[in-house]
Amino acid sequence: MRCAEYCEVVANQPVATDQFEIEIHCPTVARYAQPGQFVQMRVQSGYEPLFSRPFSVFHRKPDRDTFSVVYLVRGTFTQLLAHKQAGDRVFVVGPLGNRFVVAEPQHEKVHVLVAGGVGAPPLYLLAEEMVHHGIAHSNVVVINGARRQDLLVCQGHFAGLGVRLFTATEDGSAGIKGKVTDVLESLREQGDLAPERCQIYACGPTAMLEAVAAFAQQHHVPCQVSLETLMPCGLGVCLGCAVKIRTGDGYDYKRACVDGPIFDAAEVLWR
């Protein structure tokens, strides 16, 4: 079930440096969005910029008929979005795309969620679902990374879930000084990433995803990645979001918007 309609903004608040969380009244997305799925949003009244933009769903509040997304203000579109106030309307199409698949048997697995910057929100929705499903808190490992402390997203939310939370910043302003792959490496050295009982789920910048995928492949740990590309339509028709996915002897272009955005990292051709 998905919708394409104008929806009312309920709240639009800064959550960190240049980061906002916008809550939108939309019963369909509130009810049906799954972890890893996204919505296409349009806030501009004219044609500048022309296209909608994709945002991963962060929170669902079915009792309030709302959902929210977290965004980083970095261009014309997100500047317009940051100016939206409660009562304003935005055009929403969604929920779209596939979801992270929780590895089975889910209660026996160690689920490692690797987030980079604004890649964190869909992983929060996933962690929340895992906790809801009764997966032991100790079996949900979140590695949240960013360049600096003030660019970390969802840190308080992850902490609030009571899952095992590791933090990495490149300048050392929070958690360990280093990258999310450094945390993965130290977990592996401690014996926490036994391939047969571990699953990685990653969302963040492409360079980070590629590094996490390389780590997963090297150590034979299954890994799902959420790919980010330009998505003009989000509905699978424009073919502008194609990603190279391995086939038997070569590759095929798959659509990140409907065949993804979640792919098995082992199938992605990064270059």
């Binding site: 998905r2 919708c3 394409a4 349009r42 004219g46 044609y47 500048e48 910029p49 022309l50 296209f51 909608s52 055009f91 199409v93 590309t229 330009l230 003009p232 339509c233 509905l235 699978g236 028709v237 424009c238 073919l239 502008g240 194609a242 990603v243 190279k244 095929d252 272009y253 409907v258």
Partner: protein, 312 residues
């Protein structure tokens, strides 16, 4: 029940209303079926279909420009056999016309495609894509050369009894020349315009933004150019025209009809609002009521010169 007559007859092709969705902007219909009532559309022009499946061009394939978008998808499609086997059965459930956009590198492939689709249940017309700007060979080459246009259209004409639409390229000095060549070759209907060749450069990285270097420009940026070409071709030929190029709303669509188009196709706007084609249809009906018209056909080609402002 509509208060105005909306059906149109384009030569041999009857449409329940004049609003189509343009090839490459609506997939095979199924992608939009839960959001749009396909039964309400005049027709669906499906994604450009080739004899064999195509993987398409490398990424990046699409880039936003001022009020527009450049694309260089490279005809990624499932191929004609998979289209007939996997995509067409779904479309047959609906009463809108199904128009298959066919594309090829060489003339013989156009003929094979036309022959393969002739008589296939659920195909209502062919749209001959001689104007795709993203192919190394063929494609646009036919569309910019009047002799090649005539030759490929007449070859296809001999291989099919289906209504034949020829999609014209705007990347020519005088579009009336290729328009006449297509009609002489046997086109029943002309559709125009396809995209305008353009490029985009990233000043910071000093690189082209598209892997293909060039792409086809679409969106509201091209509307005045497309509108002019429709008007010009309408003066030059007697076959019906499907107007397209940057139609974003009902007013845009009406302008194309006033310029001489008997039907319109909504393209890039489908990416932004999946329901836009229905909004365009409803908006045209509303416009006709406001204008006191009872039949959509009555407005085709009725644009007049503007009156001097002093006449008050």
């Amino acid at each position: 029940m509509s208060r105005v007559k909306m059906d149109v007859q384009l030569g041999p092709l009857h449409l329940q209303n004049p609003v189509l969705v343009a090839s490459g902007t609506f997939g095979y219909g199924s992608e939009y079926a839960d959001l749009v009532d396909l039964n309400r559309l005049g027709g669906i022009m499906v994604k450009g279909t080739t004899l064999r499946p195509r993987a398409g061009n490398p990424m990046p394939r699409m880039v936003e420009t001022a009020s527009g978008c450049l694309n260089a998808i490279g005809l990624q499609n499932v191929g004609v056999e998979a289209f007939i086997r996997e995509k067409l059965p779904f479309l047959r459930q609906y009463r809108c016309a199904v128009i298959v956009n066919i594309a090829a590198d060489v003339r013989e492939e156009f003929e094979e495609l036309a022959e393969r689709l002739d008589g296939v249940e659920g195909v209502h017309a062919l749209e001959l894509n001689i104007s795709c700007p993203n192919q190394a060979r063929g494609g646009i080459e036919f569309g910019v050369d009047p002799e090649a246009t005539y030759d490929v259209v007449s070859r296809v004409r001999r291989r099919t009894r289906l209504p034949l639409i020829v999609k014209l390229s705007p990347n020519v000095t005088d579009i009336r020349v290729t328009a006449r060549a297509a009609v002489d070759g046997g086109a029943d209907i002309l559709s125009l315009v396809n995209t305008f060749v353009g490029t985009a450069i990233d000043a910071r990285t000093r690189q082209f933004k598209l892997a293909n270097i060039t792409g086809g420009l679409s969106g509201p940026a091209i509307k005045p150019l497309a509108l002019y070409m429709v008007w010009k071709v309408a003066q030059a030929v007697s076959v019906p025209i499907i107007g397209m190029g940057g139609i974003m709303n009902a007013t845009d669509a009406v302008e194309f009809m006033l310029a001489g188009a008997s039907a319109v196709a909504v393209g890039t706007a489908n990416y932004i609002n999946p329901r836009v084609s229905i909004e365009v249809l409803e908006g045209i009906e509303q416009y006709l009521i406001e204008q006191g018209e009872t039949d959509v056909k009555a407005i085709v080609g009725t644009v007049k010169r503007c009156k001097p402002e002093s006449e008050f």
